[in-house]
Each structure stands twice: as structure tokens, then as C-alpha cells.
């Protein structure tokens, strides 16, 4: 499948944290021919193992991309059949008014709804100045009476934002849930590459659940794997109009995280290898990485970690924007890093 076609499928499949089954199915369909074994963990992460092809399996590397997305669950059904929502992950109430949503009922059926807004004509002076909050947001379920809503939708049912399909302009892509489906795509592309090459370590490609609410999916998958090296691939905030702070630029390469939790050894190797193969690399410092890596780091006796990110604009909206060049460069970099693992670790022990 073409990258864009697959990405479209990945981003249009609902997978709000804790309800990742459907997106996991899409991923499994794609990877089952690309790995030696795969399974779903008790918390819903998918672990695919591509064994060392050189037969020298000296170590284990885990590369994790989260497959969940931010969204909502129904918190309450109000008079008239309107739904109140509870957020799953960091949703900004300011982007919600006039969004279309999909309600995934516990019965398995899906319903469409809109997040309503009070007409400007009806707003008081005070209301015009007020910021929207999650306490003011409500969903109008389309075409269902109150009785039908109560019969088919219950508290706890998942709600996702329904965004137009991906659009591609030059190398740029706009869509919803590119955080972190873009790295899900990168992980699948990586598996494809691993099938064409000789490498020494066992590679565990993880599609983790529930990153947006604190990464229990990556934590438990990492406990199972006990990797020697852990890399989280995720998105980071890219340069954006009006922000003076120096942010990573779209199209200028993947971003390497540097901070107290990031292993200097892994970061150093990645920097060196990027230079060798002419992959542009941007650097970003942070105390906590804000990714699955924070959880992977503290598993068992501890795991040395790194974070590689794709710069992304308009994070946690339905118009997340990335540059496909960065994704291709990320995959190239991971491929080369994996190829050289035996060498870099042998040198480290000398």
C-alpha cells in the first residue's frame, strides 16, 4: 500500500486511548507478514518482533510509536439527548466548537454528531467574551431522538473528532491524529526495510496503547521485552507562526531529544550516524520527554532511552501538519542505527 493511502487508513480509524482495537487491527494486518512474531499485550499494545537476521542477536532494541489518539468519552446524557464529554488526553476546548464527531457506541454502532455552538445573535455581551471550556461543550447527536440516544449511547462510549481525510500538498500532510499515527507509519516502514537487510540485534517494534494518558501501554510492553536500548518515536511541536521560541522546523529532519533522561550514548551514536549518512538532524532539549520514553526509562532495572520526533504544527487539533521528508529521514536513520548496533556497542565496551 502506498504510504499516503495507509496513513489515511491509519488516521481515519478511531483509536482513542483505551479503545485502540480497531487501529491495532489495521496495524496487524499490515505487519503480520513483516515480522517473525507479534502479539497484543494485556493493555492492548501490539509488539512485533523482527529477529536478528545475522544470527548474532547480542541485544534487544525496542522502538515504540503510540497508536492511540486524544478524544473523549461520554460523561453524561442530558435532557434532550445532548451529550456532555470527558476528555481523554489533552484536548483544547477552544478548538471544539463546530467540530464533527463520531460516537462509537458500546453496541458497536457508530453515530455522527456535532459539537454545537450558540449563535452569535443569541450570545450576551458576557458570553461573547467567555472562553469555551469543557463544561460548556455539548454534542448534538444527528438524527436521533432523546429516547434513541438513551437506548443506543451510554456513559463511557468513545467519541472521536471526525476530520476530513488527509490532504497532501507537496511533501506536507494535514490531518487528524498524525500524533502519533505518523510514527506508526514510520514503524511499519521500518519493518519493511528490516526485511531487506542484515542486522545483528533483535528488533521489537511496538505500537503502544494509552500514551496520551500516561503511557501504561509502553511501560508494560517494555517490562515484557526488557530491551537494552529503547527508542520512542513521536511528534514534537514544530515551528509555528507567532511563536518566538526556537522550535524545530518542518522539513529540516527528525528531532533528537536531549535531556537528563536521554542516554548520552544513544544520542551520541544517533548524531554520529546521522552525519555519516547525511540525514539532517535537529536537536531539542527537555527535562522530561513527554513521550512513551519517560515510562520506558523507569521499567525494571531501568532502560537507556532516546527520543526521535517528527516536527508537527497545530498539535492536538484536526489539522496537524507534518513534512513527509522528515518521516523518510527518520526511517533511514533508524535503519542505519539498527545496522550499526553491534559495532557501536562493541566499541563502547572497549
Amino acid at each position: 500500500m502506498e504510504d499516503i493511502e495507509l496513513l489515511d487508513k491509519l488516521t481515519s480509524t478511531p483509536g482513542v486511548s483505551g479503545s485502540e482495537e480497531k487501529v491495532a487491527d489495521v496495524i496487524i494486518e499490515e505487519i503480520k507478514g513483516l515480522c517473525d512474531e507479534y502479539h497484543t499485550t494485556p493493555l492492548g499494545s501490539v509488539i512485533a518482533l523482527k529477529k536478528s537476521t545475522s544470527g548474532r542477536a547480542k541485544g534487544k532494541i525496542e522502538i515504540s510509536a503510540h497508536m492511540d489518539e486524544i478524544g473523549f468519552v461520554v460523561a453524561k446524557i442530558e435532557e434532550g439527548g445532548y451529550l456532555r464529554l470527558a476528555t481523554v488526553g489533552g484536548v483544547d476546548p477552544k478548538i471544539l466548537s463546530s467540530q464533527e464527531v463520531t460516537i462509537i457506541s458500546h453496541t458497536g454502532r457508530e453515530y455522527k454528531g456535532v459539537i454545537g455552538a450558540l449563535a452569535p445573535h443569541l450570545q450576551t455581551e458576557k458570553e461573547r467574551k467567555e472562553q469555551p471550556s469543557h463544561d460548556t461543550v455539548f454534542v448534538d447527536v444527528i438524527g436521533l431522538s432523546e429516547d434513541e440516544v438513551r437506548a443506543n449511547i451510554r456513559v463511557g462510549d468513545t467519541v472521536t473528532m471526525h476530520a476530513p481525510i488527509l490532504r497532501l500538498m507537496k511533501n506536507r500532510i494535514v490531518g487528524k491524529s498524525l500524533d502519533d499515527r505518523i510514527c506508526v507509519l514510520a514503524n511499519i516502514k521500518l519493518l519493511r526495510e528490516l526485511n531487506k537487510m542484515i542486522f545483528d540485534w533483535d528488533v521489537y517494534v511496538v505500537f503502544s496503547s494509552q500514551e496520551e494518558i500516561g503511557s501504561p501501554g509502553a511501560r508494560t510492553a517494555t517490562y515484557e521485552i526488557e530491551p537494552d536500548v529503547g527508542i520512542a518515536i513521536d511528534v514534537t511541536i514544530g515551528d509555528i507562526h507567532g511563536v518566538k521560541e526556537k522550535l524545530p522546523k518542518l522539513g529540516k529532519g527528525p528531532v533528537l531529544g536531549l535531556g537528563p533522561t536521554c542516554s548520552p550514548k544513544i544520542a551520541g551514536d544517533i548524531k554520529k550516524i546521522a552525519k555519516e549518512i547525511n540525514v539532517p538532524l535537529q536537536l531539542e532539549a527537555s527535562v522530561r520527554t513527554g513521550t512513551d520514553a519517560d515510562s520506558m526509562f523507569l521499567v525494571g532495572k531501568g532502560v537507556p532511552i532516546a527520543v526521535l520526533s517528527i516536527p508537527l504544527r497545530h498539535m492536538h487539533t484536526t489539522v496537524e501538519l507534518i513534512d513527509m521528508d522528515d518521516v523518510n529521514n527518520l526511517v533511514r536513520l533508524l535503519v542505519e542505527y539498527i545496522k550499526q548496533l553491534d559495532k557501536t556497542y562493541e566499541e563502547a565496551f572497549l
Binding site: G18, E21, L43, V73, G156, G214, Y223, E224
Partner: protein, 335 residues
Amino acid sequence: MKELIKKLTETFSPSGREEKIREVILEEIKPYVDEYEVDKLGNLIVHKKGNGKKILLDAHMDEVGFVVTYIDDKGFIRIEPVGGVNPANLLYKRVQFESGAVGTVGIEGETVKQLQENYKNITFDNIYVDIGAKSREEAEKRVKRGMFGGYTTNLEVLGDRLMAKSMDDRIGCAVVIQTLKELDSSPNDVYAVFAIQEEVGLIGATVSAFGIEPDMGIAVDVTGWGDTPKGMKRLAITLGDGPAIKVKDRYMIASKSVVDLLVKTAEENEIPYQMEVLLYGGTDGAMIQKTKKGIPTGVVSIPCRYVHTQSEIVDYNDVLNAVKLLKFTLKKEMK
């Protein structure tokens, strides 16, 4: 079961000082389990042997309280919270200490204006405990720095409703105890942990499942409410509508397999239930769920008003139905 609830809620054991409540629970439950253990952190783990899947029930036995930080020359005592205690709940209320000493809580204010200001902004910095002592020496005979204290109220029966301190989570302890008492047989291997220090960061539950490695976890705890005047408008929890089956709170998303199992069991046995989406808070379930390779975990919640105060109110029918729901769940053959 009301006697049991009375005994549990009237026992004083804040986080980190669970010895007393552990003894009470152990005495209650000993005849109904095959073995028990107190682990290194103080969790009480009981085991009712069976051949099927390992299922871990959890209820935390600690309660919120406070700790003495300083005693001044005149014998007034300064405190810090242990767990989520709103200092406004304490003002002019009776409090007790581990030693058995009792007192009340006063507030600073050198002028009427300042007193009014302080009433609007009650903090642990402007309140103190008065145990009637006239000097530090006298106070220290009853209360020492580092000593724990907390609420002191008795159980009140208000029709169908029960009011007491520490319903959070002695009502969960009562439900788990009663469930094991009534569970004559089960195809499953049933463990229950009465966990320490939930209120200060889910401490007991961080380790309780590690040794047991259960196939499934079910925490039993209290949840919020939305059925009082101008109550939380996004919280669809009503006392008396049945035990709540948690979908999510701030700390976890309950595992779907367990949610589905609980809902199915409730429906098959015509037990009333409500779905719970809590906008804040968390339970031991969050830690059990992410133990080791991950343990599918859910939570059965008892709707409870005024959580973390001296006057927590639950509906007795919700309690009885929670016992029923757990009992029927444990009796199920699991794949």
C-alpha cells in the same frame, strides 16, 4: 453488614498508620480465607484458593488525615495533610490523634477583617489544633511531632443512606470482606488485598499485584456524585442507582474486557449498575493495571457524597448490590 461498616469506619487508621484497621479486617476475614499474608509494606493479602484464573480484588484500608509538624510554646499544634484533606473541612471540627488525644481546629486572625479574610482562604498555614493544653510540655504528653491525626465521627444511619468518616475506602473494605464471606465456592483463584497508603499515591497497590501476578484485577473504591443541588454537571453518578462500573478517571482507563465482564454480570443477574466517568481522582486499579506485563483491571465504585470529609454518605443498597455484583463475577468461569 451495617455492623461491619460501623466497625470499619469507626476505626482510626490514616495512611501510613494502618495497623489498627488491618487487625480489625484480619479478625473479620480470617475464618473465610485459606491463607493470608502481611507484605513488607503492610498490605494485607488474603487468598481463597481455587483452580481457575487468578483474580485480585483490592480495597484500600487507609484514610485521609494529617500529621503534626510543630507544637508551639502555648501548646497549639500545627499540621500538614496526609492525603487530600481540605483544611476548610477541619475548622471547629473534632479531631483525634493516634494517642487517643482529641481536640478541635481553630484559625488565626488578629482583627475582625483579618479573620474574615482567613475564613475565605483557609489553609494549613492559618489553622491550628487546640487540644486544651496550656503549654508545649502539657501538649507533648498527649501529642508528639510526627504523630498522625484525623477525623473522629461515628456512623449514622440516615434511612437508606449511611454517613461516616472514611467511607473512602472502608466501604470498599466492607464490600470485599462481605463478598468473600458470602462466596461459598468459586471456580477462580481469588486474592484480595487491603492496601496501605492509597491516599498518598497508590503506594500499596504499586507492589501488591507484583508477587501475585493476577490475570485480572478489580479495585473497589468510592466515586464522586452529581446528584446534589448544582452538583457537578458532567458527572452522571446518582446515589442509589447501583454500584458504578468505572470507564475512566484521571489515572486510568479501565480495561474493556473487565468493564464488559462486569456489565454482563450485572445484566445477567439483574443487578442495578451505572457507568462511571470520573473527571478527577484515581484508584489502586491504576497501579494494578500497569504492573509487570499489564493486568486487565477494572473498578467497582460505590457512589459517595462529600468524599474526604467527616460526613461521607453512601446508599446502603449500592453497597449490597456491589457485593452481589462481585460475588456473581467471581463465580463466573473465565476463559
